[in-house]
Symmetry: C2
DNA sequence: CTACTATATGCATCAAAGTGCATATAATCA
DNA sequence: TGATTATATGCACTTTGATGCATATAGTAG
């Protein structure tokens, strides 16, 4: 039920092809969602069957033909209805914590490797996000940011704040592990 | 493939019944995982079929009979193998952000209501977590915390740090929304 | 006496998500 | 000429998740 509303949201902002949608997950929307092309095409098919979206077949000479999808009026209605209803809280399942639950004095180095890897990856992602923020969302640029881009910026901010907290936690756990399980 | 390793992890720490496992999700492990009893029993059945767990049927007089599950040697091997392999990064999908992507000047109040609800719920959860920390994990209690409880505490810390960051972000977004879409 | 709660386990069905496989055009690279 | 990349779409299969239904014992609350 979720991907459905992601696609409706994106198509409401701007008509797109399935291919465009998939690429969107590789860039801006990728901060908080992703889906494989197979999932996207399947869901688009279902949405079209349910008449929530319509599409125009467009022939291209240099590239394969494509279908440009947009919301139908009942699609807009469905989206509006979804917006009006409160979200229910989502639980985030965390496999890293599951792994760490297995920590003991014999596998300490394994666990710390996993933590270090995680710290490393997180720092790289953090650097990437911060660079994007500096390059595209300076105080000056923010003042002239188009309205429909503001929540994309908010998504980036979410990524930045989450990673910061995650890194702080990782370092805390690394200390905790060392103190607890060193022989 | 995930619930499988959660169950193996929990059963490796201590043999349990399906019912015990479900209750674990309602308490400590609930910080970072949950599953319905139907899912748990099905997965336990699959694990038993695959000979990764074994169980003893135990008759009780005052309560219904139960099955106490524990890891088989191949279950332990499977768990160890999983621990040795790096986790792949998980993407957290965020429906709140999807909803906010739809923000515009006509639905501003709707969006702010959603944000306020989220702030309220998060503050309640935060208070709960902080209370648990104060009550069960004071500096004094931490010094005598059994080794196998340390990562449960880490899970709580993860919850606390995540919520703090989430709250900071929510308040940031609320300001951003106000600035952008007020008429 | 009836309802409800706690303990305890499970099946069946359907919706959603993930993965592998498949196809087609056109351009570029080696 | 053959390989790879970008564009573009989709089916089939499997796994996972969610929900409803079903059953059984025993204690407690009203």
């Amino acid at each position: 039920m979720s991907l459905k509303f992601v696609l409706l949201t994106l198509l409401d902002r701007e008509p797109r092809t399935g291919y465009d949608l998939v690429r969107t997950f590789d860039t801006a929307v990728g901060y908080f969602w992703n889906a494989s092309h197979q999932q996207v095409y399947r869901e688009l098919g279902a949405l079209a069957d349910a008449r929530l979206v319509k599409f125009k077949q467009i022939e291209q000479e240099d590239k394969p033909d494509k279908k440009v999808y947009s919301l139908s009026s009942s699609g807009q209605k469905a989206l509006r209805l979804w917006l009006e209803n409160p979200l229910k809280a989502q639980k985030n399942k965390d496999l890293l914590l599951v792994k760490l639950l297995n920590a003991n004095s014999t596998n300490l180095s394994l666990m710390r490797e996993e933590l270090q890897r995680n710290i490393h990856d997180s720092e790289i992602l953090q650097a990437t996000y911060l660079e994007i923020e500096q390059r595209f969302y300076s105080a000056r640029q923010l003042r002239s940011l188009p309205d429909n881009q503001v929540m994309i910026y908010a998504a980036l901010r979410k990524g930045i704040l989450s990673i910061e907290a995650h890194l702080a936690w990782l370092k805390e756990v690394d200390k905790l592990l060392g103190k607890t399980f060193k022989k």
